[in-house]
C-alpha cells in the first residue's frame, strides 16, 4: 500500500509499485486531465507537480511518490477559481486540440512559482520539454508572460464566467 497526497488529500493505492504515477492518477483516482503522450518523458503531456516541482509522470513509478504531494491540473486552483495561467489561456485563445495543455500549464505554473517574472528565454527553457503538435507555442509564450507577477493582468483568481464575459 502506497500513501501520498493528491491535490491536498491523503490517498492510498495498492497498484503495483512500478506502475507509473500517470496511470494511477488517471485510472485509479479517475483524474483524467493529465495526459499520456509518449510514455518516455519526452513530450510533457503527463506533467504534474511533485512537492511543487514539475515532473513527467508517465515513467515515474508510484512507489517513488510515497509520502510526497502530487498536484494535478484539477488541483491547480481552488474550486471554482482559475489559476492566472488558465485565465490567460482563455484571453489568448491558446488551446487548439487541447490535449497537451494540462501539461503546458503545469510546467508554466511551476515556473511562475519559482520565477514570478520570467523572461521570454526563461519561458522557452521551462517549456521546451512540452510538445504541442498543433503549434500553440507563440500563444503559450504570450499567455505565460501575461500571467507573470509584474504584468498583474490575471493576478486575482478569476472565475470562468468572468473570463468569458
Amino acid at each position: 500500500m502506497i500513501e501520498f497526497e493528491l491535490n491536498g488529500e491523503t490517498v492510498r493505492t495498492d497498484e503495483a509499485p512500478d506502475t507509473p504515477v500517470l496511470w494511477v492518477i488517471r485510472d485509479t483516482f479517475k483524474l483524467k486531465g493529465s495526459k499520456f503522450g509518449c510514455g518516455a518523458g519526452l513530450c510533457g503531456a503527463c506533467t504534474m507537480h511533485l512537492d511543487g516541482t514539475a515532473i513527467r509522470t508517465c515513467m515515474l513509478p508510484i512507489s517513488a511518490v510515497a509520502g510526497q504531494a502530487i498536484t494535478t491540473i484539477e488541483g491547480l486552483s481552488a474550486e471554482g477559481n482559475l489559476h492566472p495561467l488558465q485565465a490567460a489561456w482563455q484571453a489568448y485563445a491558446v488551446p487548439q486540440c487541447g490535449y497537451c495543455q494540462s501539461g503546458q500549464i503545469m510546467s508554466a505554473a511551476a515556473l511562475l512559482e519559482s520565477n514570478p517574472n520570467p523572461s521570454e528565454a526563461d519561458v522557452e527553457i521551462a517549456l521546451a520539454g512540452n510538445i504541442c503538435r498543433c503549434g500553440c507555442y507563440p500563444r503559450i509564450k504570450k499567455a505565460v508572460l501575461a500571467a507573470s507577477e509584474s504584468s498583474g493582468l490575471f493576478k486575482n483568481a478569476i472565475t470562468s464566467e468572468e473570463v468569458i464575459s
Partner: protein, 736 residues
Amino acid sequence: MRIENLSRRSFLKTTAIVGGGVVIGFSLSGCSTSAPLPIDVADGGFVPNAFIQILPDNSVKFYTARDEMGQGVTTGLSTLLGEELDFDPFKMEILLAGVHEDYNNPGMGVQATGGSNAIHAHFEPMRRAGANARAIILLAAAQDLGVHVDQLKTEDGHVVWDNQRFPYGSFVQTAAGIAAPEEVSLKSPGDFRYIGQESGRVDALAKSTGAAVFGIDIDLPGLHYAVVRRSPVPGAKVVGFNRAATEQAKGVFQVMEVASGVAVVAETYWQAKKAAEQMEVTWEEVPLGGMSSADIRADYEQALNSEEGLTGTDEGDLDAGFAAADHVLESQYWTPFLSHAPMEPMNAVVDIKEGWADVWSGTQGPVAAQGLVARFSGLEPSKVRVHQTYLGGSFGRRGTLTHIVEATQIAVASGKPIKLIWSREDDLRNGLYRPASLMRLKAGVDGDGRIAAWDAKRVGGNISPDTIKNMLPALFPGLSDGVVDWVGGLADGAFTDWVADPSSVEGLFEDYDHPNTRVTHATVNHGIPLTFWRSVGHSYTAFAKESMVDELVVAGGYDPVAFRLKNTENKPRLQNVIRVAGELMKAMTLSQDHHLGFAAHHSFLTDVAQIAEVSVKEGKIRVHKVVCVVDCGTAVNPDVVRAQMEGGILFGLTAALHGEHRIEGGAIKESNFHDYPILRMNEAPDIEVVIVESQDTPTGAGEPGLPPIAPAVANAVFRASGQRLRSLPLRLEARA
C-alpha cells in the same frame, strides 16, 4: 465525392418536437429519414432541427456535426448558427453530435470532417439552421403575445416587443407545433454581429482546466484495457506467440489474435502493456521486409528517369515553350515519409452488451466508426451508438480507424468493455504515413520574364487507394470481405494504370500562368500504408514548385515578388496575397545575418503567401520570424484563422527542419520523440498573420498555412548560405 446542393425548400421538411417525443429528422440533403436523432431531449426541450435544442430556461444546446480536432470548428459552426439564431455562441452548451444522416458534411455527402471544408461547406446551411429556428420562435411569440410577427424582433436570445424582452425559452412549447416558414432570409454581411468579430474559442475553458474529454479519458464500470502487438513490417501476419506464458502474467485476462496482430487484455493498462511487451511473437516474412530507405529511393529514381508514368495534364506545346525560353532549369526534389504524430495516441473504448454496441473515440468520421463496429460485431449499424469526443490532434490520422476494428474484435472475443490504447511507438511504427515523393520540375522562362513551359513529374505511392480500402468496410459494413478486396484492388489499379491520383500531384503545376504544361505521375508503391496528412499533396508539391520558382528568380536575376506577380495574372487572388506580402517584406528591417525567403501557394480554395526570416549559423538553420498573408474569404472567426495559420506554419516547420521516417528491413526505424523530433517552443518563430479583408464565401484554413513554409525557409537558407537544399528535412552540407 458527391457535392450536395442545399435548397431552401429542404428546410420545409423541418418537424419540430418538444421533449419526450420522437425526434423526426431534419435533413440538409432533402432526403429525410425516419431514424431518430441521437439527441437527449430534455423535459420541455424544443428541437427544431438536428443542431439545436432550446430549453424553457432559455439555455441553448448546439450539436456540432463536424469533429473538433483543434481547428476551431466548434467555435466556427456555433458562430454561424448563433449569428442567425441571434444567440451568443459563447452562451451555448457545445455538444459533439452522434451519428445521423442530418449531420452529413454537405461538401462530402457523409458524416466526416476533413479537407479544410467545414466552414466553407456549412457557411450557408448552418446559418439557415439558425435562421429557421429563430423564425419559428418568432411565429410562436407572435401567437402567444397575440401580435403580428412583423411587430417583433430578436436580441441575443430574446424576443423584443414594444420594449419588452421575452426569452426564447418562454415560447418553446408553442414553437413545437409550428412549421418553419418557407422563405427565411439571411442577414447581409453588414449586419453580422458575431461573424468576423474577434472572439475567443468556445472550447478554451474546458481545454485549460483538464475538463475536456478525449477518447482516452472515457471510463466505464468493469473496463478492461487492451494493448496490441503489431508486426514491425506492414502487412505481415502472425505466425506464432507464447500465449500460455503471457496469460500467466499478473492481471492478464485474455490473449487473442486479432486482424492486426496479438492483443493482450488486462485489468489495468500497465499490466496489459508490460505483458504485451514481454510477449514473444513471430511474424511471417513479406517482400517489404527486405526493403530499406535506400532501396525505395533507388526505385523512385529509376521510375523518374525512365519513360514510366501516366500523363495527367498536357496543355500547349511543351517543346515549343522550352524552345522559346531564354533560360531553362531542371531540378529534383525529395520529401520523406512522415507521421502525423497527434499528441493523443490512437485509442477507442468499445462496450458491447444486450444487443447494442457503444463506441467512444475521437474520429474524423463518426459514421465510419459506426460502420466498423457494426461490421466486426455483427450488429446492425442502427444498434451501434457512436459517442464522439474531442480529438487530441489528428491532421488526417483519425480518418483511418483500424484501432476501432481492433477494439471491436477484442470486445467481442473478451465479452468485456474494452479500452484499447496505442503507445507512441505504435503510433510512429504501425501507423499510416504521408507518402515520400521524388519530384522533377523542368521550367523555362522567356525574355519577358514569363514562365513559358512547365514539365512536372512525381514518383511515389498514391494516397487515395489505401484510404479507399480503409473506408469501404467502414462506410459499407454490409459488403463482404471479397467485395471489399475486389473494389479496393480496383482502386489500386485505377490509380496505377488509368488515372493520376489528384491527391498525389495537387499543387505541382496549377498556380502559375505557364501556357505549356505537362504533369506526369509514376506510381511506385512498396506497401508502406499511406493516408492524408495535413495539406495532403500540397505538403510536398509546394516545396518543389516554390523552390523551382526561386531557382528561376535567382537564375534570371528577378525580384522574387515581381516575378511571381508577373506570372499569376490569371490567379488574381493568389496574385493579391503575393502583392500584400511583398509590401510587408519591403518594410521588414533585418539584422545583418538574417535573410528572407518568399513562397506562395493556393490550396483548399485559399491563397497564402509567406516570408520566412532565417539565419544560418554554425551549420544550424534558425527561423526567427514568419509573416503570413492569407485570403480565405470571410474570416468567420479571425483569431481562429490566425491560430490555424500559426499551427500550419509550425506543423510545416517540423517537417521542414526535422521530419523524416527511415525504413530498415521494411520497418519504420523511428520510435518516439527522441528520434522523431517535433518542433519545440525554443525553435518556434514569431508569427505575424495578415488576413485579407473579404466578404466572399469562406474557404479553407486548417491546411493552407502549411504548404508555403518549407519552401519559404529553403529559399531563405539559399540566401543565407548559398546552398540550394532540394530535400526535406533541410540539412546543410558541411563545407570546408
